[in-house]
């Protein structure tokens, strides 16, 4: 009698050889590098390149202007962060107003609808000019005169209208069964909203809110039109004096350093969110 040895457990697939593992990556990196090198050599060999380089990418200028632009960029980021916090809260309040039903809440609901319609329909730049120059010009005692304050308020007003609509779509995306269940348990309309609906709504729209945050991160530069010495303004001041635009490139680089990681983070969270939903659906 011959006892057969049990067969070794079968692997789900055969192991990839080193070549198969790394070749695709190598090819991708190689082709991208080649394309970059070709473009670079074409650009650099063109007759106008030295002028372009001097106007936009002058390293001496960038180094000279960098401390001021960086300081200005600090103002951009400070305004951005404060605005983010205020918008997150104010837009939620607007969305809640809009979602309330019942005759007693009608004034809040109407206010919210009018606010969102008006503020979403106006260019942010117009609001910044209107608030930033208009309000201080009123010379009402007790009202702040700071351009940063009024500029930030304009951005907050404008972006809150968008964010409120995002929140509202989140509230509407929560299944009506949740509301029924909460009501049947005896929860009031406000309790239902806070304990049952909003936590789900905010989770559902978090990626969209982050997208707005990325957009706002760049748009705070609109405050430069008010004379606020942010990164863009500082760069412009230098440009006006020397007719060299490398200072704007320095500011551009700073904005990219801030926005690209946040955009990547948004992509990542969006992807996770989609996976979570697909899992929930199965």
């Amino acid at each position: 009698m011959i006892f057969k040895r049990p067969a070794p457990p079968r692997r789900a697939g055969r192991a990839l050889s080193v070549r198969e593992k790394y070749l695709p990556t190598l090819i991708s990196v190689g082709t991208v590098l080649i394309v970059i090198l070709v473009i670079r050599s074409v650009v650099i060999s063109s007759s106008q390149w030295p002028r372009i380089k001097n106007q936009f990418f002058n390293l001496d200028v960038i180094i000279e202007v960098f401390p001021k632009v960086l300081h200005g960029f600090g103002i951009n980021m400070a305004v951005w962060i404060i605005a983010l916090v205020v918008i997150a809260v104010w837009a939620l309040v607007l969305a809640i107003f809009r979602s309330l039903n019942g005759p007693w809440f009608a004034p809040l609901k109407v206010f919210s609808i009018v606010y969102i319609d008006l503020l979403r329909g106006l260019p942010s730049l117009l609001l910044v000019l209107l608030f930033g120059f208009g309000m201080p010009a009123l010379q009402i005692p007790g009202l702040p005169k700071s351009s940063i304050f009024w500029g930030a308020l304009a951005m907050i007003s404008s972006y809150s209208a968008y964010a409120a609509e995002v929140y509202r779509s989140g509230i509407e995306s929560v299944h009506t069964g949740q509301q029924l269940a909460a009501k049947a348990l005896g929860l009031s309309q406000v309790q239902t909203l806070f304990y049952c609906i909003l936590p789900q709504a905010v989770r559902n729209v978090f990626p969209s809110l982050l997208n707005l945050a990325v957009a706002l991160q760049k748009d705070v530069a609109l405050l430069s039109v008010l004379g606020v010495r942010d990164a863009v303004r500082e760069a412009q001041i230098y440009t006006a004096r020397t007719f060299n635009y490398s200072s704007l490139i320095a500011a551009a680089a700073l904005f990219l350093v801030a926005t690209i990681p946040l955009a990547r983070l948004t992509d990542y969270i969006t992807k996770k969110d989609r996976e979570r939903r697909l899992q929930g659906a199965s």
């Binding site: 299944h175 069964g177 949740q178 029924l180 269940a181 909460a182 009501k183 049947a184 005896g186 309790q191």
Partner: protein, 247 residues
Amino acid sequence: MYKIEIEHLTKYYGDNLVLDNVDLKVANHEVVCLIGSSGSGKSTLLRCVNDLVSFNEGSIKLDGVSIHDPEFNMKDLYKRIGIVFQAYNLFPHMSVIDNITLAPKKVHRREKEESEAHGKELLSLFGLDGFADSYPEQLSGGQQQRVAIVRAMANKPDILLLDEVTAALDPELIGDVLSVIKDLRNQGMTMLIVTHEMGFAKDVADRVCFLDGGKILEEAPPKDLFSKPENLRTKQFLQRIIESGRL
């Protein structure tokens, strides 16, 4: 005195008549099953009882007091009547124990420790020991539905409304939920049950009502209604059920 007394209940959705002058009385500790094809008004009737949908005419009395009586405390209504839905409707962002204790804590202002102890006691009673800190999506459909029953029970209701609670479950999970409902019946819970499980209705009901076109066409103890239905529509309905092998 009846536990639930529904009189002349009429309900329109737009121009559509969904409940047509319905009368139904449910005694204390009685279990009444509502059967009928989709769109016959069973679920709407159930939801009128605990004010989830409003109705146009008629009245609903609990222990002899109309729920529209100014004396009647609506908070009391939600406390005294629990409902379980076909799709469970658990709150997905809350753990099982938070789902169960939400209403006791926030609506009835019971202490956190007290309501959690009561919740855990109910969980173990319904065979859900150790699931208190799980989230609904981590549970099977049958477990989720039992959690939903526990959530309804946590308010200590004396009436339970069950709205097609097994319709969304895989066949092998239905048994668990149905045996839980039988236990509740044996403990004397007054129940109004919408169901498509005729075998279960036969087993658990004191009385079965057949609804069609927003009317109760026939009501009788299950052994009578299922063996010798009097109304022609009831006969046709049961015939179709038997043909599809579900009775």
